[in-house]
């Protein structure tokens, strides 16, 4: 029993040491700051767009902000994350780490946690900037002069829900970036991760297309390869669409706590599964 506890302590210690180091490393990556700064500029530019949408400026500020935060978070995960394991291989820093009593899965999980900490930290910073900005904009022009659809509170529960689900989305995107990084070159990993991210945004549309191909009531049920492929794609791809509640939040509509909970659970389970696959593939690799 004591031995098992000691093993768990060592394993967690190894993964956390690697995570901490990855966080340190990522914080020195200029791309992170570049993307972060660009993200902040974009979310503040919502006000400019708001000027041309008469009476809807706060809605636009909210909409731009809530969309920019997860998007730039995902860009960070892709830029920093897709080279995260290959850089260790190329720089040969991995040899001295894996020559320790450190399992390969600890290495992958440590890298993931470190990157996730960085991306979530940067996203949290963007969110704080956004919320402060939103509070300032709202205090200058409280309420919606047209229909009163936008509640005056800047930090309402719907906005918070949207930000939390943006974090859940990044949980998944970061795991996908690490998975591809463990098996492929940084450029290919970035391409694969980006396409998976984009495809995930349209998961519901894929399901809709599959349903449209379903035979009408009374028609004979046959094999439709297009429908099977679309359904398979829907099952495999991350349903990032599910984590997008921005439209509701912008209009101050909250989703149910059950839906919030299930969506977070889905994100955690999906990211976990992707990491397990990444660890299994990395486990089999011969290091050059």
């Amino acid at each position: 029993m004591a031995d098992a506890r000691e093993t768990v302590r060592r394993r967690l210690g190894g993964a956390l040491a690697i995570a901490r180091n990855t966080f340190r490393e990522a914080m020195r990556d200029r791309i992170l700051y570049l993307v972060g700064a660009f993200g902040i500029i974009v979310l503040m530019s919502g006000k400019i767009v708001g000027w041309v949408s008469i009476g809807e400026d706060i809605v636009v500020v909210r909409s731009v902000g809530l969309s920019a935060i997860p998007f730039f978070g995902a860009i960070m995960a892709i830029f920093v994350g897709t080279g995260i394991i290959q850089r260790e291989l190329g720089g040969r820093t991995i040899y001295t780490i894996l020559a320790r009593p450190v399992a390969r899965w600890e290495f992958v999980v440590g890298k993931y946690l470190g990157l996730l900490g960085t991306v979530l930290g940067a996203t949290a910073a963007m969110s704080v900037v956004f919320l402060v900005y939103l509070a300032v904009v709202t205090s200058v022009a409280p309420g919606d002069p047209v229909g009163g659809a936008v509640p005056p509170a800047a930090f309402g529960w719907p906005v918070f829900q949207s930000l939390v689900l943006s974090g859940a989305e990044l949980l998944v995107v970061t795991a996908i970036a690490v998975l591809f990084s463990s098996i492929s070159t940084p450029i290919l990993s970035a391409v694969f991760t980006f396409f998976t991210y984009v495809a995930g945004q349209f998961a519901s549309d894929v399901m809709l297309m599959s349903e449209m191909l379903a035979p009408e009531a009374g028609a004979p049920v046959g094999w439709d390869i297009r429908r099977i492929l679309l359904e398979a794609l829907y099952r495999v791809m991350p349903n990032l669409d599910m984590m997008n509640v921005r439209l509701n939040s912008v209009h101050g509509i909250a989703i149910s706590n059950a839906q919030l909970g299930w969506t977070i659970l889905y994100a955690v389970a999906y990211a976990g599964l992707v990491l397990v696959i990444g660890c299994a593939l990395f486990e089999r690799r011969n290091l050059p």
Partner: protein, 322 residues
């Protein structure tokens, strides 16, 4: 229990998806005894680094098994008491020397309260205490090598695996590393190191293994490997002249005269018997009879199947001596 044991170890790579399979190791059998300093020599591409990577679980064996302290190399526990210095070690450039050593100490499971004093002690030992707070990116090649040694020994391993530890170091750096290896061995640790620099291997190792074409072609004590083959026999005598050597014919290879002392070499031990008898028959005095054995470099070249391996080693030796 042996610190290192390889049984029929075979590693076959496939570079890329469509690449032809390349054999890195072929049925390698190796056993390193506790407490010994074992030198592992071979030409470039002979399989030294592949052996080390497979022992450390960085490569997966295609066949056979690699064990560290009796535990399979794919299991992290096998590396609990192992320190490793790769060839030309790379570290995180943004960490300081102290942070680097503490990071590796943490990976080895050293409790947090012990890490800092242990790192300070080790950095002092490898001569880096003055640069402990400098970032690794400012370190010279020699300093990185010392830092590599520091991280390898910070957890006081029972087995130290060093891949070309002297490569690229200046003479003083090489001497320091040699002294450190001796010190570690004196403390009871087993040391396994690969090298091109045969003089270092000769001066440090209890035993040597020679690898060629992914196979272990010879293993034994340096003296035994070298003495196994007598190249020539040197005789020294007085009261015996160069002209008296006539009956030995072509068996005589080299003759030197220094006053009354005549020194000559004959091709083999039979010729040496005949020469010794001849000296006595002609009224001379035999002062010495010394078999001239191969040097480690010559053994190495012969086992590598030609002079290429020796040329590699000789070139490396010249570089190392600066």
């Amino acid at each position: 229990m042996h610190p290192i044991e390889a049984r029929g170890l075979t590693v076959i790579y496939r570079p890329g998806l469509l690449g032809r399979p390349v054999t890195g190791l072929q049925g390698l059998d190796l056993r390193v005894e506790p407490g010994e300093v074992f030198g592992y020599i071979g030409a470039n591409g002979a399989g030294k680094t592949t052996t080390i990577k497979t022992l450390l679980g960085l490569n997966r064996p295609t066949r056979g098994e690699a064990l560290l302290f009796g535990v399979g190399s794919s299991r992290p526990e096998s590396r609990r008491d192992v320190g490793f210095l790769p060839e030309a070690p790379y570290f995180y450039e943004y960490l300081t020397g102290r942070e680097t050593v503490e990071f590796y100490a943490r990976l080895s499971g050293i409790p947090s309260r012990e890490r800092s004093p242990r790192a300070a002690d080790i950095l002092e030992r490898v001569g880096l205490s003055g640069a402990a707070e400098r970032r690794v990116r400012t370190y010279s090649r020699g300093m990185r090598q010392r830092l590599g040694l520091a991280q390898a020994i910070v957890h006081r391993p029972k087995l130290l695996i060093l891949d070309e530890p002297m490569s690229g170091l200046d003479p003083l750096g090489r001497r320091d590393v040699r002294l450190l290896i001796r010190e570690i061995a004196r403390d009871g640790a087993t040391v396994f190191f690969s090298s091109h620099i045969l003089s270092d291997v000769e001066s440090l190792c209890d035993r040597v293994g020679v690898v060629a074409g992914g196979k272990l072609v010879a293993v034994g004590r340096v003296e035994d490997l070298a003495r196994a083959r007598v190249k020539t026999v040197e005789l020294r005598c007085t009261g015996f002249s160069r002209e008296d050597l006539g009956p030995l014919g072509d068996a005589v290879l080299d003759v030197r005269v220094d006053g009354d002392l005549l020194t000559f070499e004959v091709a083999d031990e039979q010729a040496a018997d005949r020469a010794a008898r001849l000296v006595v028959e002609r009224g001379g005095s035999l002062r010495g009879l010394v078999p001239v054995t191969e040097t480690l470099e010559e053994v190495f070249a012969r086992l590598q199947g030609g002079p290429a391996g020796a040329e590699d080693a000789a070139a490396e030796e010249v570089r190392a001596r600066g």
